[in-house]
């Protein structure tokens, strides 16, 4: 790809970018959120047309008008948000678009054989007859990878493949990628997780704000250098924080039970804990151990089966979401697209999503648009939320990091007593992560209670004042400070404190 330039209204997403991919290498593409990585790959995959520049494959100039063309050239892509038909089976999804037919009838048997062969060869475990809507995110990703292999693609693009995976799944994926490399396939690996690049990539190209910064050999570089290239300044990996000034109990949860939507068992089985003012309590655990349901119960998105929740001395077990919000609970949701934002609303409309009904923003039911604009502008400036057109930008068009910053700005500026932050840095780059971590610590230092739910052990360790380990819907450990190894054992259910341990 030579001198690629792609513009969107108000923003130059790619500005004269040149990228060279060798056969049989894993080439990482690194950059902050909104640096233009996904755009560049979409150009390569034929989803967008570049205004300038050309693409060459094996020395020949090619014009990639659409993804079909890309496929013919042997270019395949796993998108950050999977492109699968939810109500189709795994097999259907894999053959979709390249169906083998005989007199108009689908040839399932040969397709199944080929899929199973590929699946075994690369260790990509899938159930070909399961519906996409029923399988885990990790398996969905394997389906996407099989889709590429089924089409005999030689160049594989992975757009932030690890953002949605658990640590185990990430490890598996890395092994699979190495396998492809040995086969002579070339991989473009988009990410902003430095340790993954260090672990698996051969070379790394860095983009910053749509511009090409440089390409380095991983063997001759360090994490620090890469992050400097990406962000344009030094990044602190270890967060400096003062010792906590722990105050009164803000949140008190007693014997909380929340039903599961997926199965008949309860997802949260009698959890009790307290969060005090001025401390960050982290709930840590492997995905799917009841964290999501616990948060839904706390924030009122799902009803609580039994037990009680008390916020600043007030029983909010059965309070509505609005009442909880009024009583001082802020919630940074796990899924920012589903819960955090109305994507087709403008940034300013999203900024007042939790507060539009307050007298500051409305007068007898009429929205004070001036006040909303002013408030949104204030938050945009204060929290450095970048967007194409400022307050009137449609939220959907913003980069993931800036969407998250907007949510965090909104939730923090509400001046909550309790801030519930669920995976606040999921899918973000180091610059944004550093910023969000600082904000959370600033909230703590301002005397607020912070409840953090995170899967990232690094994040858990560097932020929290207290760690609660959740395993199968129960809290099995409560630590002031803990060793990583130790935490891992608790998370995997191999150890537990309290009654079992006492036996």
């Amino acid at each position: 790809m030579l001198h690629i330039t792609k513009e969107f209204p108000g923003i130059k997403a790619n500005d004269d970018i040149t990228l060279q991919l060798k056969k049989g290498e894993i080439h990482a593409l690194l950059g902050e959120n909104g640096a233009g990585k996904s755009t560049l790959m979409s150009v390569l995959f034929g989803l967008y047309q570049a205004e300038q520049g050309e693409i060459r494959k094996n020395g020949k100039t090619v014009h990639i008008k659409d993804p079909n063309e890309a496929n013919r050239l042997g270019i395949g892509m796993v998108h950050q948000h999977f492109k699968l038909v939810e109500c189709f089976t795994v097999l259907d999804n894999i053959i979709l678009g390249v169906e083998d037919t005989k007199r108009g009838f689908l040839q399932y048997d040969s397709a199944r054989k080929k899929v199973m062969e590929l699946s075994q060869k690369y260790g990509l475990r899938v159930d070909p007859d399961a519906l996409i809507s029923d399988i885990s995110v990790g398996m969905q990703q394997r389906v996407e990878i099989l889709k590429m292999l089924y089409r005999d693609n030689e160049i594989l693009i992975f757009d932030e493949p690890t953002a949605v995976l658990t640590p185990q799944e990430i490890k598996e994926l890395m092994a699979i990628m190495r396998g492809f490399k040995e086969e002579g396939k070339s991989i473009l690996f988009i990410t902003h997780k430095l340790q993954e690049i260090m672990a698996v990539a051969d070379r790394c190209s860095v983009l910053r704000k749509g511009k090409y910064i440089g390409t380095v050999d991983i063997a001759n570089t360090t994490r620090e250098e890469l992050s400097r290239m990406m962000v344009g300044r030094e990044v602190a990996f270890d967060i400096q924080k003062k010792s906590p000034q722990v105050g009164d109990v803000v949140l008190s949860v007693k014997d909380l039970v929340v039903a599961s939507k997926a199965h008949n068992n309860n997802a949260v089985k009698g959890v009790s804990f307290e969060v005090h003012a001025g401390e960050i309590v982290c709930i840590s655990g492997i995905e799917g151990n009841g964290q999501t349901e616990l948060v839904y119960g706390l924030t009122g998105l799902e009803p609580v089966k039994s037990g009680s929740i008390t916020l600043c001395g007030k029983d909010i077990t059965h309070a509505s979401i609005r009442e909880r919000s009024k009583d001082g609970m802020s919630h940074i949701p796990e899924d920012r697209h589903k819960y955090g934002l109305v994507l087709d609303y403008t940034l300013e409309q999203n900024m007042v999503l939790q507060r539009y009904w307050e007298p500051e923003f409305q007068n007898h039911g009429v929205i004070r648009s001036q006040a909303v604009r002013k408030y949104a502008q204030k938050l945009i400036d204060k929290f450095d939320v970048r967007s194409g057109q400022g307050p009137v930008t449609i939220a959907r068009s913003m980069s993931g990091g800036n969407q998250q910053k907007a949510i965090i700005a909104r939730e923090i500026d509400k001046n909550p007593q309790l801030l519930v932050a669920v995976q606040p840095t999921r899918g973000l780059d180091v610059g944004a992560i550093e910023y969000i971590h600082q904000q959370l610590i600033a909230e703590r230092d301002a005397g607020r209670a912070v409840l953090l739910i995170s899967l990232e052990l690094d994040e858990v360790r560097s932020l929290s004042d207290r760690i609660l380990v959740i395993y199968e819907g129960e809290i099995v450990g409560d630590f002031e400070k803990a060793e990583m190894e130790e935490l891992g054992l608790y998370m995997a259910g191999a150890k537990r404190q309290g009654k079992e341990a006492a036996k």
């Binding site: 609303y345 939790q354 539009y356 409305q362």
Partner: protein, 371 residues
């Protein structure tokens, strides 16, 4: 000198342009169809369709008169759509609104404005049911509202047939298949003409209903655009989960939205039958007016202000269509009208085409400049 905004970024203008082009394409197809069906009369027929509305003040009065209920049904569908609901039950709500208005006029002897309020109540009640079923049991509103179209129609027919005082036969006329003539039964229930009839060459059709409808359209625009209520409704329509997260009571809003949509359609029924020129006829089919609200809303992209213009257009085509008789049968005319409306609703598709075209042109211009 200030730099002019490039055309490609002027969304408003592109939307209007897309609608206009779609209409033109629709008319062209309609004409081709006429040519196929009856080549010798195609020209006459088309010109009748296109010119009748402006041909005489009387006909123009009729265009305005019919536009009012169309506008309200369009607003009804569009309003519900903004909340993420597809109100296909405008017809039943319209019928209920008409029924309530006529009860107010003939049985209760109320003045016209009170009858109109009653029509809102009637339509609103008919909107509650799909809203309730959707909110409480998550039953698709399309199914319930279609069912309630038929229930509404037959219920009204049944009630009218068993209320002799409502029928024309009770007021000195011979026919019992329609409601009483308001000129005889209760002239005070007829919507005032405010001197407009003089302006429109004594047209029997014209009255202030079109202005009432326009006022309601502006009110709807205000509610959707400027109020917290509209903010909540749109948020529910765009992202139900996020609005729940924001503490918005989505179920309450679904019910309210359907009540308002119902009231709008109901008011349309009131406006149509309180003009004193047309009597409600007991028929065995669902009234088309409510369904015509769907293309009105689509053509306007559910925008309340756009609804004003799209309803005027469709009303104009309908009045023109009826003038194509006897050269064409009423079925043919309906087909032609349907084709025109159908293609006119392609505005969204057209929008994409225009955007692409503009981009291409801009690209060429850039190349020329750089060359």
């Amino acid at each position: 000198m200030t730099k002019k905004k490039p055309l490609a970024e002027n969304q408003m203008l592109i939307s209007i342009l897309a609608s206009v082009i779609s209409i033109a394409v629709g008319l062209l197809f309609g004409f081709i169809l006429l040519l196929i069906l009856n080549p010798s009369k195609a020209g006459v027929g088309m010109s009748a369709m296109l010119t009748t509305g402006f041909g005489s003040l009387d006909k123009f009065g009729k265009v305005l008169y019919q536009a009012a209920p169309l506008m309200l049904c369009g607003l009804s569908v569009g309003f519900a759509f903004k909340t993420g609901l597809f109100n296909i039950g405008a017809s039943g709500q319209y019928t209920m609104g008409a029924f309530f208005a006529l009860i107010g006029a003939i049985v209760l002897h109320l003045p016209w404005w009170a009858c109109l309020l009653l029509s809102c109540v009637g339509g609103g009640i008919w909107g509650i049911f799909p809203g309730l079923f959707k909110a409480l049991f998550n039953v698709n509103e399309v199914i319930t509202s279609i069912m309630f179209n038929w229930i509404g129609m037959f219920l009204v027919n049944l009630l009218l047939a068993n209320t002799p005082i409502m029928l024309a036969s009770a007021w000195g006329a011979s026919n019992s298949d329609r409601t009483a003539d308001l000129n005889v039964a209760n002239p005070s229930a007829i919507i005032p003409k405010a001197g407009l009839d003089k302006l429109f060459g004594n047209s029997p059709w014209i009255n202030i209903s079109v202005f009432i409808a326009i006022a309601v359209a502006i009110l709807m625009w205000f509610i959707l655009q400027k109020t917290t209520f509209g903010y909540e409704l749109k948020a529910c329509g765009l992202n139900k989960e996020a609005s729940r997260y924001a503490g918005i009571n989505a179920n309450r809003n679904i019910i309210l939205s359907m009540i308002i949509a119902g009231a709008l359609s109901g008011l349309g029924g009131g406006l149509y039958y309180l003009a004193g020129t047309i009597q409600y006829v007991l028929e065995k089919s669902v009234l088309g007016m409510g369904f015509d609200g769907i293309p009105v809303a689509l053509l306007a992209n559910s925008h309340p202000i756009g609804t004003i213009f799209s309803s005027l257009f469709i009303s104009y085509i309908k009045v023109g269509g009826s003038a194509m008789q006897p050269n064409f049968s009423s079925e043919t005319i309906n087909i032609i009208i349907a084709v025109i409306i159908y293609l006119a609703a392609f505005a969204l598709l057209m929008r994409g085409v225009i955007m692409k075209l503009l981009k291409k042109l801009a690209g060429k211009a850039d190349k020329e400049v750089s060359a």
